[in-house]
Structures are given as C-alpha cells and as structure tokens.
Amino acid sequence: MQQFFAILKDSYREAVDGFVIYVMLGLALVVALIVGSITFTPDPAPRAVAVIVSKFTAVFPDKGKSKAFTAVAQHPVKYSAENAESGTDGTVKFVLDVAPERAAVVDKKDGFRYAVFTWSKPAGEKFKNPFGDGKAKGGEERRFEIVLPPEATAADLAAVTDDDMAGFLKSQFAAFVGVTEADVSAKRVAGVAEPSYRFEVELKRATTARGWPQTLDVFFRQVSLGDDWELGQTVFKIENGLVGWIGGTGTLVISVIITAFFIPNMLRKGSIDLLISKPIGRTQLLVYKYIGGLVFISIITSFTITLVWIAISFRAGYWDPTFLLTIPTLLLAFAILYALSTAVAVFTRSAIASILITIAFMFGLFIVGQAKTFFDVNRVFQVAKVPDWAYTLVDTLHAILPRYKDLDRLTSKLLIETNLPSGEARTSGIGLIDYPSWGMTIGVSLAFIVVMLALSCWKLNKRDN
C-alpha cells in the first residue's frame, strides 16, 4: 500500500503543478457562488395555485398510484382560486371553484366527474405504440405505454361521491405541489349547481414545497428572471445542467486534458527507467497511476459537486443528498475516458494523441447514444424511414461500447425523481419509456475499462523500456 499511496501522492503533485487545476477550482467556486446567489421567493398564492391546477388535466389512475397518467383534456375543466391566501407557516387556504371550461367536446360529459372517475379506477388498458401501426420496427420491441382514458357511462359519473372528489383533489395537489396527502384537506361546499363545484382547500407546507412556483432572482436579487419557476423543477434544471452539460462535457474534457499527461510523462525516456528499476511491477505501476488520476479527479469532482449542492440546498431550502450521487456517476464517465486515454498513451507515448483520440471517442459515444435514443423512439413513432441494418449497427455499437450517454440519461432520471413532485416527474415521461438499467450501464462500462487497462498493461509489459 505504501507504493500505492506514493504514486497517488505523485499524481497529485503532478496535477497541482500546473495552473489548470487552479482554474478548475476557481471555476467551481464561481459556479457555486452564482448558484448561491439565486434567490427563490414563493409566488403569491392565487398565481401559484393557478399554475398548479393548470396541470390537473393529467390524472393518475389507481387513486394516484399509477406511474402512467391519463390525459383528460377532452372534457376540459377550469379550476380557479383567486381568493387563495398563504400564511407565514407556508399554509395556503382557498376556495376552489371548478367549472366546465367550455362545452364538453365529447358527448357533453361532466369533465370534473369524469376526471375523478378516471382517477378512482385502476389504470385502464395500456396501449403500446399508440402513434404507430401497432408494431415496433427495427429489432427489439421497446416499451412506450400510455393509459387510455376509460369509458364512462352516465351512471358511472353519477356514482362519483363527494369523498371521491375530495380524494381526487388531495391526490392531485399532493402530486403537483409536492406535499403529502396528509398535508392537503379538501371539502366540498354545498350550494353550487353541477356541473360546477366548490371546495374549501387547505395546503400545509405548500409555499416551500418543490412544486410551488417561485419568483427567481440571481446575483443576490440584482437580476430578476421572473415568476412561475417551480422550485424542484428549477433545482433539477440547475443540477442537471451542471452535471449533464458543464459537468458531463466541459469538466470531463478539462479532466481528460489534465490527466492525459500523467502516463506519457511517466513513460518518458529517463523517467520510466527510474520507476521500473524500483521494486514494483509494471502492471502495478500503470494501474496505480490510473487510479491516481481517478482519485485526483474525484477530489475535484467531489469538491465542485459538494460546493454546488451546499449552495443550492441552502437557497432552495431542502437538503436532498441524491445530487451527491452524481459524483460517482461523473467519476465513472471520467474513468471510461481515462482508461482509453491511458491505453492510447501507452501505445503512442503522446499526450496530444491521448487527448485528441479520447475527445473524439467521447464525441463518438455521444453520437452513438443520441442515435440509440432516436432509434428507440423511431421504433415506436416511425418518424423516419431507417433501414434495419442501421438499427442493428447502432444497437451493436451501443451494446459493446461504454454507456456514456446512458449514464447521462440515468443521472437525469435520478435528478427528476429527486427534485420534481411526483406528478411532475410522472408527466415528464420517465415512467412511460424504458430506461437503461444501472447494472447493465455500469457493467458494460466497467468491462470496457478493464479491457482498456488490460491492453495497456499487456503493451507496457511487452515492450522493452
């Protein structure tokens, strides 16, 4: 272990010798500062409730338990709560008026009763490939399901009780505000002629909940970005942007550049002889150096992500540690690239070759990932005519290459599930399409890393240095 730590320390010294590391740390601080300068101010209750109830066209069957939603827009309903008031403890009280938006477009059904009926019944028929010809094309069948609106007779609608209506509203508010059903109370007020309805609604802890719209300011209230920014959705966008875009591309490219010099410097004439003459095997030497690069980047990544997490949690008012899980995810993405960079360095001894080939590979993985996503969607929707061999090619490349893009998708899914209220998350579609599995994504990626390192070690052991 002494040798292992010596090489880790050496990698650290090498990395901090240049200015790039300080630029990266400086950028991390700047990003954290910008994020920390964001201010969320809850929107006034009438406006916020109007935004929330506008989403009620999406209904979750099975009394809100269904992962898929049913759109009930064919029977439009207007919800209004202009009298909404919020207390200092975040509790919001209002009278909710429900009325037909306009004449029902289909068979003049009572839109509100129909929505409650849909909510109260088990998820209806799941319809695969609803927009195509009923068959997935181009190889394996992919899942894309929606729940069809149920058929409802006049008797069915008449059977909807006041409790069902209250339950429906509690479920909907909980799903879209991001509070528990216990935090919501809804009671029908008598005296309003159907098909209009009136309810007294109370939402506890609402204004600090993740679905509550906020007014967003940046640079310590110097710049206003307007209202209607839902808290969780905004946090998700910031986190996903940092990890998926700045983190996934910018930081990884810089990390690849910094670490691309580690192995060629070690293999330099006059340097490698000194190391090989020490009592350490070549495989050990290379693997330790590889791990040294990973540890170094993990320190920077952890520093940046943790700093941003602290800043955004402090500003958003909720401390969900799931964002910290992006540290190992980003590190795995870097490990994939660094394994290739190491292999190129051992074969060419050139840092420039390592950088160029690794970045080209990164771009290639992105393209394959994008193509795979598009082809999977195209299997269902058939928006473009694609020959079968193209599906086979993309599927094969995707199967054997590390799952760089999949890591990005899975990370986004994780952040959606974490930050968005359950209703928002479900309507974003994450429950409708197949996501790659973490096991397969990590497994294939690790296998690629092992193959790259094995090739590198073989080459280093084989050559006369």
Binding site: Q3, F5, D10, R13, D17, K269, G281, D464
Partner: protein, 323 residues
C-alpha cells in the same frame, strides 16, 4: 557470492544484436567498471540486469536472483544515464517518492533523506523544485536516490556526467566510502581516468562483446618496456643490446633516449650489465607504463564505431539511454 553474474547473455533489438554473449562476474564489495564506446551495449547490459529490457538468450543474475526479479530490485540502487526527474518534485519530495517505492518506512525516510542529500552536497536546496536544479545538482540527486535505501548493489550509469571536477572528486570519494562500507558498485563511465582511479576490475565491452576483463593492474600491465638515457656525449649501443635479444628503438624527439622492450622471462639486468661493462653512465631509466586509456584505445581503435541509437530505432523500439 557473486553480486552480478551473466553467462552468454544476448540481447537483440530486431536485426541488431546489442549483446553477443556477455559473461561477467562481479563479486561483493568490488567497484566494477564497464567501459565501451557509444553503442557498445553497456546500458543495455545494465537494463537487462534490472529487468528494464528483457534478455533474448543466456543467463543473468543479480544478488542470486534472476535478473529483473521485482523483489531483488529492492536491494539495488540505480542511477540511469539521461535520467529525467519530474520537475514538479522538490529534491526532498522526489527522494520521499522513490524511497516509498523502495519500501523505506516513512519515519526512516524522514531521517535518511536529509542525510543522503547532505552526503551528495545538495541538502541546502532540497526543498527547491527540481526544475530549478543545474545538471550537476540533478546528477547528485540521482546518486542520492540510488543510495537512500542502503542497497547492496549500486549501479551507476555515467554518474559524473555534467558534474564539475570538484564534484567528480567528491563522487569518487563517495564511491570509496561506499565500497569501504561493503557496498558493491557497478560503474558505467566514459571517463577512463576516473574508472582507473576507483575500479577494482574493469570490463571493456565492444560491439556487444567483452573484449578485455580484469583488474586495473592486469589490464595496464605492459610486457616490460624501459626508456634509457645515457650521459651527454655517450652513444647508446643499440646493436649490442639487440644482439642480446632485446627489441630496441630510438625514441624520436628525445635527447638520445632509447626504448628497450623485455622479452619473455628476462629482466632489464643484462642490458644494464652491458652498459656498465662499456663504461656508459645511465642517467635516465623509466619503466614505461600503459594507462587504461591506452588499453582501451588499443582495444577498440581498429574497430568500427558501435551501433548508434538512430540505427537501432530503425530495427526496434527505442529503449532509452546510450548503449
């Protein structure tokens, strides 16, 4: 116990045979010098011993273990020629890094590093970045890193390269001290005078073959050649000396001096007796000596230059270092 032993050692880089059956034996406590032109195979031999390059054929052992074995390298210190230390290290941190790779415990490193750097004369700059060191300082640091773990065998490839004359003497003295402590030193150097001063045994490697090997005395031993000079006005009896069976020749650019070479089994005594009988007074008599440089030059002067790196690259991958 032999510290280094090779038998019919061969190394081939593609079409180039860098070592053609080298057999050597270095005993414990010796300072052993390896001489040769560029491309003679000196560095290749060292690299084979350390496992930096793999031998093609033959046998090589180091401290009774197969050459290149990982564990045996713990007992060897090595200064390569053309070493390149990472510039981001200080002298101290580099020693700490290499010491850790050698398995020296941290507490021991903390004590030994300043001591060793003091020994090679750069302790005052040990916390400066290596990129600020002169070539001579880097060379001294290289020697220090080869010594700090107290190895049984120290292999030095051109240790005085880039070092000033004072520094060279200090390094020679240091090698003497190490020898006195029982260390074995395997020295590869172009500086023949230096090798002659400190080595117990020397091998001359030429085009991958050991062409001479022995102690300094054995190598510099002449057949017995004397330079004689008589009193002014006297004539040297060259014919008479030749009739005694001794090859004799006048030395140009001297005041009537003659060179007399002894023949097998004879001393200079018959010549001196002849001169005395003729009443001649010898005012100058010197036994002519041969330097190691003479031996080296005679050994290799008629040979073609060795294989240089560029030629070898065409046939194989680069190996680094002069050979």
């Amino acid at each position: 116990m032999s510290v280094i032993e090779t038998a019919d050692l061969r190394k081939r880089y593609g079409p180039i045979e860098a070592l053609k059956g080298v057999s050597l034996r270095v005993e414990k406590g010796q300072i052993y010098g390896l001489l040769g032109q560029n491309g003679a195979g000196k560095t290749t031999l060292i690299k084979v011993l350390l496992g930096i390059v793999k031998l093609t054929d033959g046998r090589a052992s180091l401290l009774d273990a197969p050459a290149g074995a990982v564990e045996v390298r713990r007992r060897v210190g090595y200064l390569p020629e053309d070493h390149a230390f990472p510039g981001y290290h200080t002298g101290y941190s580099l020693m700490d890094y290499y010491g850790a790779l050698y398995g020296v415990p941290a507490a021991e490193r903390a004590k030994k590093i300043p001591d060793t750097l003091e020994l090679v004369g750069i302790a005052g700059r040990m916390h400066s970045k290596i990129k600020t060191y002169s070539k001579g300082m880097k060379q001294r640091l290289g020697i220090a890193q080869a010594l700090m773990h107290d190895p049984e065998l120290i292999i030095l490839d051109e240790p005085t390269d880039g070092v000033d004359p004072m520094g060279r003497k200090e390094i020679r003295d240091l090698m003497g001290q190490l020898k006195a402590k029982g260390h074995t030193i395997f020295l590869n150097s172009h500086l023949l005078g230096e090798v002659e001063l400190i080595c117990d045994r020397v091998a001359i490697l030429h085009k991958g073959v050991v062409v001479r090997e022995g102690t300094i005395d054995e190598l510099t031993k002449t057949k017995g050649t004397y330079v004689l000079g008589l009193m002014s006005g006297q004539t040297f009896p060259a014919d008479a000396v030749a009739q005694l069976g001794f090859p004799v020749r006048p030395l140009p650019d001297t005041a009537g001096h003659f060179e007399v070479t002894l023949v097998e089994g004879k001393t200079i005594e018959p010549v001196m007796k002849l001169l005395a009988e003729r009443g001649l007074t010898v005012v100058h008599i010197v036994e002519k000596k041969q330097s190691l440089e003479d031996v080296f030059m005679k050994t290799v002067e008629s040979a073609e230059p060795g294989v240089d790196r560029k030629q070898r690259r065409r046939g194989a991958r680069p190996v680094g270092g002069e050979n």
